[in-house]
Symmetry: C2
Subunit: 146 residues, 2 copies
DNA sequence: GTTACTGCAAAGCTTTTGCATCCCT
DNA sequence: AGGGATGCAAAAGCTTTGCAGTAAC
């Protein structure tokens, strides 16, 4: 966690715990998952601190917020440009490092200055494919039904 | 709205109003925007009815839910496969009809059966580009900072 | 006449905020 | 010592649910 020193950012035990939890983590955890994981070892940890720390890390570019799961933010400590594939059944998210060329022609970007892009793939992971062939549409099928 | 007859779906005045509001609409409205737009003409309309109708339409494939704006669903009556470009400042969303080839190699999809995908472009629309060159990062910069 | 839908209010879930206290630097 | 961080609780924002009444079929 040495890389966070000298950035005008106080290294409290709670922050260090969150940073260590995230470092190298490929689970794309939500704030809730982070909180539940750390509250065992740090019983005084609060959700406010988790959100506060995640916001600081996000604003400084050490963490990316993912919106791939509706109504819930997931967090990714890998800030290199990449995309994501989520299982529609169990919500597992894996990284996709495909180098896709998605340049838009002028008439397509409608005068916008394009700053970034992100591809969301939807599917079924192997365990879920075997377990539940159907029954995904509960709660509203999202944009993955095409 | 004739296309919704004979589907075991009751055509109430509220539903017809929502369907007419959505038909051909390219604004990608949220439930709140739909409710506010219709409550003038239909003062008894409730949010529960808006959400109920949107869920029915989504499950039947007449509407797509978009998760591009964090913590808020947006709805798109255009269910043809396409992508979206959102202004990071004013949250305006426009359609992108680029035919991008995003097939993943076997080692990339990690055993998943891929069912769909969606590309989210982030940028600044022309009015916002002139108006506010900076000041977008408030509230957490999302996945668009790459 | 049935069945499904409406609308209200209450509750749920995630996230944010106010504020007194605490502690890292 | 000082300014930022913590943690609690309360509140906010979006969405869902329970249920009695109502209207479409």
């Amino acid at each position: 966690m040495e890389k966070f020193r000298g950035l005008g950012l106080k290294l409290t035990p709670q922050r260090i715990a969150i940073m260590q939890y995230l470092d190298g983590n490929t689970e794309h955890p939500s704030a809730d998952v982070i909180y539940k994981s750390l509250t065992k070892k740090y019983p005084t940890m609060s959700m406010a601190t988790v959100y506060n720390t995640l916001e600081v890390l996000t604003n400084r570019g050490y963490v990316r917020e993912l919106t791939i799961e509706p109504q819930k933010k997931r967090f990714d400590p890998n800030t290199k440009h990449h995309h994501h594939l989520m299982c529609m059944a169990c919500k597992k998210i894996v990284d996709v490092h495909s180098a896709v060329n998605v340049d838009l022609s002028p008439e397509e970007h409608d005068g916008f200055e394009i700053i970034g892009h992100h591809i969301e793939f939807y599917g079924l992971c192997q365990p879920c494919k075997k377990r539940e062939p159907i029954k995904l549409l509960k709660g509203g099928s999202h944009q993955w039904q095409m």
